[in-house]
């Protein structure tokens, strides 16, 4: 009944567990020898084994709600933990506090684990942070700013200026790799964000509307139309309603934006990035 492929994973996992357990024991020993109180700085920050041990703790105790990949589960409001570090206010100490105390009034319970185990979990969360790249893009940020305003700002915002049909890009280089950002420019339909799924519809008065879905239930749909107006429709009053595969964002091929243009835009975005993330 149990497949060979699963058995392989299990055997591998078991080895990992035993090594992880030794790591936990070793780190805990060092930790206890040096420290007696919880503090604001992760005492295991520079210990490479901490993140690995924290991963085991995460899988055992956190993954059910936050997902095995820590990307969160929407249906139970469990947040994406790979993005928490993009917030200005997030520190090792604040994450430690949240794990230890839980979140009042939410499904997130307090945790009784010894402090070293909580720090290990913090280390693990640091290690999986979607933190973009620390590599500096070689480009002309000033030129990039102009290119951005010309090509992108109708739909995207940076530091409060620009449109809203697409995602806010103020901190995007902190959350996405350069390769994936380039890919989004060249092939915008290959990956469309959850709150930017495109639809087209026709109303009873034959108005054609395109937009991105913000919310939907069995009876209605709430969207931002291509003129960036928030609108809602009852599905029964529509003549046609189609989920589109193609993003509303135009494809920027090499002829539209050269590699140099793209680098300038990314350089501009990187220069505007609210907070440099480093581990």
């Amino acid at each position: 009944m149990i497949s060979l492929s699963i058995s392989f994973v299990r055997n591998k996992s078991r080895d990992e567990v035993s090594s992880v357990c030794s790591a936990i024991a070793a780190i805990a020993f060092v930790f206890l020898a040096n420290l007696s109180q919880a503090q604001g700085v992760n005492p295991l920050e520079y210990d490479p084994r901490a993140a690995q041990a924290g991963g085991a703790i995460f899988r055992a105790q956190c993954a059910t709600c936050h997902g095995a990949d820590a990307r969160g589960i929407d249906s139970i409001d469990a947040p994406d933990l790979t993005l928490i570090w993009a917030r200005q206010t997030t520190t090792d100490a604040s994450v430690f506090e949240t794990i230890k105390e839980g979140v009042a009034g939410s499904i997130m319970p307090p945790h009784q684990n010894p402090d070293p185990e909580i720090w290990m979990t913090v280390s693990y969360l640091r290690s999986i942070a979607v933190s973009g790249t620390n590599e500096t893009v070689v480009g002309n940020a000033d030129r990039g700013r102009n290119m951005f305003i010309e090509n992108c700002s109708r739909c995207h915002r940076v530091d409060g200026a620009g449109g809203s049909l697409g995602p806010d890009l103020s901190t995007i280089t902190g959350r996405r790799s350069l390769a994936s950002l380039v890919n989004s420019l060249r092939e915008p339909s290959s990956s469309i964000g959850r709150r930017f799924k495109p639809v087209s519809l026709t109303t009873a008065t034959n108005e054609r509307v395109q937009g991105t879905v913000k919310s939907e239930d069995a009876f209605s749909v709430q969207l931002m139309d291509s003129e960036q107006v928030l609108r809602a429709f009852n599905k029964t009053e529509l003549i046609q309603f189609t989920r589109e595969a193609d993003s509303l964002m135009p494809v920027f091929s090499e002829s539209a934006l050269t590699e140099a243009d793209v680098n300038d835009i990314l350089s501009y975005l990187q220069s505007r990035r609210g907070r440099r993330l480093s581990i």
């Binding site: 149990i2 059910t64 095995a68 939410s106």
Partner: protein, 557 residues
């Protein structure tokens, strides 16, 4: 409702009142009390007795137990709200609980007696609420310890049990508490198990003649599940049935012969059971074995995990069991409301129990013998498509051939409903896609031991309200939802189905066609809860909990 119907109902109510009064008088005098006033002149409204609960929907001004009656059908005889007028249904009042369960739901089924609603909420809040105004008489808030384990679940509660002037509620710190329903004062408070090791309790107690039956949560921890019976007057334990046998007991042969493995075998009993007073049997679902996803250290079928058990109500003795998912490695607890009905089966009258299971199958069993009569899939699950002649699922995909239903399953504890005139079983179905990666857990007291992780494909998920022909398991109709849904179902004899969805809609459907007739946006997902309905001042009301609110609906005057 015609005038004749109304007359008959009033006539029925009159005799009901006479009967109830006699019963009350009898029970009160047995308790050494006068029905109208005690010797000191203090008024004494004795409250419902066992016979009242037994009569279930015969008195539609009451709702005295979780499903409205012991059968779990959640099918009310009320016919004032009809497919023709349901679109005029409007909210009368909304009660705000002031306590949240982010990520889960307000899962309670309020009890109704004499114009008062008895309601439990998240974080072990509870209230007595005036059913006419939505204003509360009293509020209870339990002083919970700050190191709760929650049984790997959430701070929810599914309702009170009631008998006489006593209410019964289980708590997140695994206690059973009795209250005076007039004041909310605690009468007694007993521990079911040690919450620090992972136990918790969330269900609505099942109140029988002289027993309060409860189950326990905690299958995600190294715990051992049980079903308990307590004396309503004192809180003393009458019996306990362990869902995981001890070494040497029947069923232990389906586990490794290791007392430690058995002692942490899981098998939670966190959802309500149903009761057949003629057979004196209670029917209760048992949850997953522990660790949830890692089965290598618990080879075997792991009885009585993922089973339905039929227990003698007086002794807790096991009469029969049926295991839906032998050796579960997907966390497909069988904690569902067992639905009892008497139906014609191949020309014979059969007493059956029906279960829509988390593993994706709909089952009909003979509830006298436990014989399997039908097992058919009601979702697109690739795990199995049929049950073999030996009564076991023929597993086609253990997860190695693509995704399986996620750990929340093809349905879950949200109550289904049975519509007798059409022999339809109506339930909320979830279509999901998950990949399970087992990993041997550490067993640390008070820490969960899932034994692996699950990757859920968030893009591939939908929900549906489905009506199944109980004779064949075939789909009669469905209404689809944009996301996997956790709302429960109630039906009324007027031909209506009431259901809730994950987007917050409370809805009514035509039971024959599945056509949506009405919806109301409550503002929060309807999770775990199903509607209740009753007559108040001669008028049918419908209640639904959602998010942090309880809303009452009725037709305009």
């Amino acid at each position: 409702m015609t005038k004749r119907d109304l007359f008959e109902m009033q006539n029925k109510l009159f005799w009901k009142l006479i009967f109830s009064t006699l019963c009350l008088g009898l029970s009160s005098s047995l308790m050494g009390q006068s029905n109208t006033a005690s010797s000191s002149g203090i008024p004494n409204n004795a409250g419902p007795v066992y016979e009242d609960i037994l009569q279930g929907f015969d008195d539609p001004s009451r709702w005295l137990t979780f499903s409205g009656d012991y059968s779990g059908k959640r099918h009310s005889p009320l016919q004032q709200i009809t497919p023709e007028n349901v679109d005029q249904l409007r909210p009368l009042w909304t009660f705000q609980t002031g306590t949240t369960t982010r990520g889960r739901g307000f899962e309670t089924s309020p009890l109704m007696d004499d114009g008062i609603l008895y309601v439990t909420g998240s974080n072990n809040f509870a209230w007595a609420i005036d059913a006419r105004t939505g204003r509360s008489f009293w509020q209870y808030r339990r002083d919970l310890p700050n190191d709760l384990t929650y049984g790997a679940s959430a701070p929810v509660n599914r309702g009170f049990g009631m008998l006489g002037n006593q209410l019964f509620m289980v708590t997140l710190d695994a206690h059973l508490v009795s209250f005076d329903r007039r004041t909310g004062d605690v009468l007694w408070d007993i521990q079911l198990a040690d919450y620090k090791t992972g136990y918790s309790a969330t269900l609505a107690p099942l109140v029988l003649d002289d027993k309060v039956i409860v189950g326990i949560s905690g299958g995600e921890y190294a715990t051992r599940g049980f079903i308990d019976a307590y004396d309503p007057a004192t809180g003393e334990q009458i019996w306990r049935f362990h869902t995981i046998p001890a070494l040497g007991e029947p069923g232990s042969e389906t586990w490794p012969p290791d007392p430690e493995v058995l002692s942490r075998g899981g098998g939670g009993t966190w959802m309500n059971g149903s009761y057949d007073p003629d057979l004196n049997l209670i029917y209760w679902g048992v949850g997953n074995p522990n660790p949830d996803y890692f089965g290598d250290t618990r080879l075997g079928d792991n009885l009585y995990s993922n089973s339905l058990v039929a227990l003698d109500a007086d002794t807790g003795e096991l009469k029969w069991h049926y295991q839906f998912t032998p050796h579960d490695i997907n966390d497909w607890d069988s904690n569902h409301m067992p639905v009892l009905a008497d139906i014609e089966w191949n020309g014979q009258d059969r007493r059956v129990v029906m279960v829509g299971n988390r593993n994706g199958f709909f089952y009909v069993l003979d509830r006298v013998s436990g014989e399997l009569l039908l097992g058919k899939p009601f979702t697109a699950t690739s795990w199995a498509r049929e049950i073999g002649a030996d009564g076991r699922p023929i597993v086609l995909n253990d997860g190695s051939k693509g995704c399986l239903p996620d750990p929340w399953g093809s349905t879950n504890f949200m109550p289904p409903s049975f519509y007798p005139d059409l022999d339809l079983f109506i339930l909320t179905a979830r279509e999901t896609c998950a990949t399970f990666v087992p990993e041997e857990p550490r067993y640390v007291t008070g820490q969960s031991s899932f034994g692996g992780v699950v990757f859920i494909d968030g893009e591939q998920g939908s929900g549906a309200l489905r009506a199944l022909d109980v004779h064949t398991g075939e789909l009669r109709w469905e209404f689809t939802y944009p996301s996997p849904t956790f709302g429960g179902v109630m039906t009324t004899a007027a031909g209506l189905v009431f259901a809730g969805d994950h987007e917050g809609n409370f809805m009514a459907f035509d039971v024959e066609s599945g056509k949506n007739l009405w919806h109301y946006q409550t503002g929060s997902r309807i999770w775990g809860a199903a509607a209740t309905t009753y007559l108040l001042d001669g008028k049918q009301h419908v209640l639904i909990p959602s998010g942090t609110t309880l809303t009452a609906f009725a037709l305009p005057d």
